[in-house]
Symmetry: C2
Subunit: 290 residues, 2 copies
């Protein structure tokens, strides 16, 4: 396996291959990423290579967010990728990605004042996570398009956990006529049901136990749905009871049509139940798609 | 020569060729476009094809602008391209380009509320033409990126007349890591010096005579510069005298560094002198790069 840090080295590498598939990550890899990587490797065609990109993208973090303390574990990530059979880890720095010699996200030159951005549709951004994380999805779409262009990937793998991201990347591919097949992979959970996330590293034991509430609420919805309850008002009210002593600070708990991110009153196929909450100031998300 | 209307037909066409070069236009072709096309054909390499796109892009016109009356002359344009030796005219409609069945630019679904946009840097947009044409360059960058992706062009040809557009497209290519070589072609003028533009068709005889003022002002700058005058204040004041009876309504007349679009006080290599003015309500632009 090769670890490549520059765009020119990456271009040298890919020119010998028919196809490249990309797993874009911010590192701090866990079994959720592992599921994406394994799927990419399983779906490899002849003379195809799997690239995992590791880049903590400054422009997708807001001013008060955790860019500086976001976990960076490149050495472990490289070993993780090698053991799974990845062909290339692409680990550029901010100077390589943005032509600006800074890893600080407070550098004003990383804003849309100075850089060309990709801006997903406002009405699809201004809901769920995008409502509180202003500018986040512009930063995500921009870096993902850059990675698509740099790697010339024909397939790219995204986790269903970041459901709004997955939705907006698919929309970008359609709207901008990109020739990339977006593959999604279901949420991976630990033995207690907590959705895997790099941010779980921030949780202490108390936080961890509280964080389980997110998955419990989703399970409650599923349990009632399996008994025939499809009315969103009832599902919402029953599930929210599990947080009646405010274990977690809920930011949103919504039932949407995953075809268009519009709210629904009745759960049907392709309804997404999405939840975001803070646990001891750590922001976590989880969801379930019917 | 083929005339292709759909994206799938275009993809079928290009898959047999090594390279494609693109001349993106809004039609109403004139000798300015002709110069772009001729350069593209001259620079063709083996097994390369030249595509001229013709698409009056609704999302680059503002609410009060001339989208509906913009000249549409597809039959003549096709003949023009065929005579020059173009390989393909790609002439999609708005439904093909935006997946929305409307050619009207007042369709709200063509806004960034519903579509993924490419947004060039605000500080480079909020000057020259971008200052009065709010949203214009977002619309331009978006459609150009779509056309690059659809055609998989490795080279694309833009006129120097739309200098800010040329600048922002080059910036987009750099910022988004596109693999397209942007080629520019000098302004083509008629026998009286008027820069060719599809909008010149709107001019009556009186308007035409007034419109010549733009080029006369640029020529005055050049004449003084050739005599050794490099002070922008002096050049500006001398040139503006040519419009002392308000033949044209000047929107801007600026001296900028074409490396960064910042104002300069002294003319040096790569200074651009750019002018926009209305003539009997027709908006025209012209420029000169040292």
């Amino acid at each position: 396996m090769e670890v490549i840090k520059t765009i020119s080295d990456l271009k040298d590498f890919i020119k010998d291959y028919n196809n490249v598939s990309l797993v874009p990550t911010m590192g701090a890899l866990h079994e959720g990423h592992g599921a994406l990587i394994k799927k990419a490797i399983t779906e490899k065609t002849q003379n195809e290579k799997v690239i995992v990109s590791i880049f903590v993208n400054p422009i997708q973090f807001g001013p008060g967010e955790d860019f500086n303390k976001y976990p960076r574990t490149l050495n472990e990530d490289v070993i993780f990728c090698e053991e799974l059979g990845v062909d290339v880890v692409f680990a550029p720095n901010a100077a390589t990605m943005y032509g600006i010699s800074s890893d600080e996200n407070d550098n004003v030159h990383l804003s849309n004042n100075y850089l060309t951005y990709v801006c997903p549709p406002y009405l699809l951004v201004d809901k769920l996570c995008g409502k509180s994380r202003v500018g986040h999805f512009d930063g995500v779409a921009t870096v993902v398009l850059k990675l698509f262009n740099i790697t010339q990937a024909k397939k790219a793998y995204f986790g269903q956990k970041d459901a709004q991201q997955l939705f907006l990347i698919k929309k970008m591919v359609k709207d901008l006529n990109l020739d990339v097949d977006i593959k999604s992979v279901p949420i991976v959970r630990d033995k207690n049901g907590l959705a895997l996330s790099s941010r779980n590293k921030y949780l202490d034991e108390d936080g961890y136990n509280k964080a389980l509430t997110l998955n419990k609420m989703l399970n409650k919805v599923k349990e009632l749905y399996d008994k025939g309850v499809v009315n969103v008002k009832i599902l919402f009210e029953e599930a929210i009871l599990l947080n009646n002593d405010d274990k977690v600070e809920i930011e949103y708990f919504e039932f949407l049509d995953f075809n268009n991110l519009e709210p629904v009153n009745i759960v049907t196929k392709n309804t997404i139940v999405a939840i975001a909450a803070k646990v001891n100031k750590i922001r976590l998300i989880d969801n379930m798609i019917f």
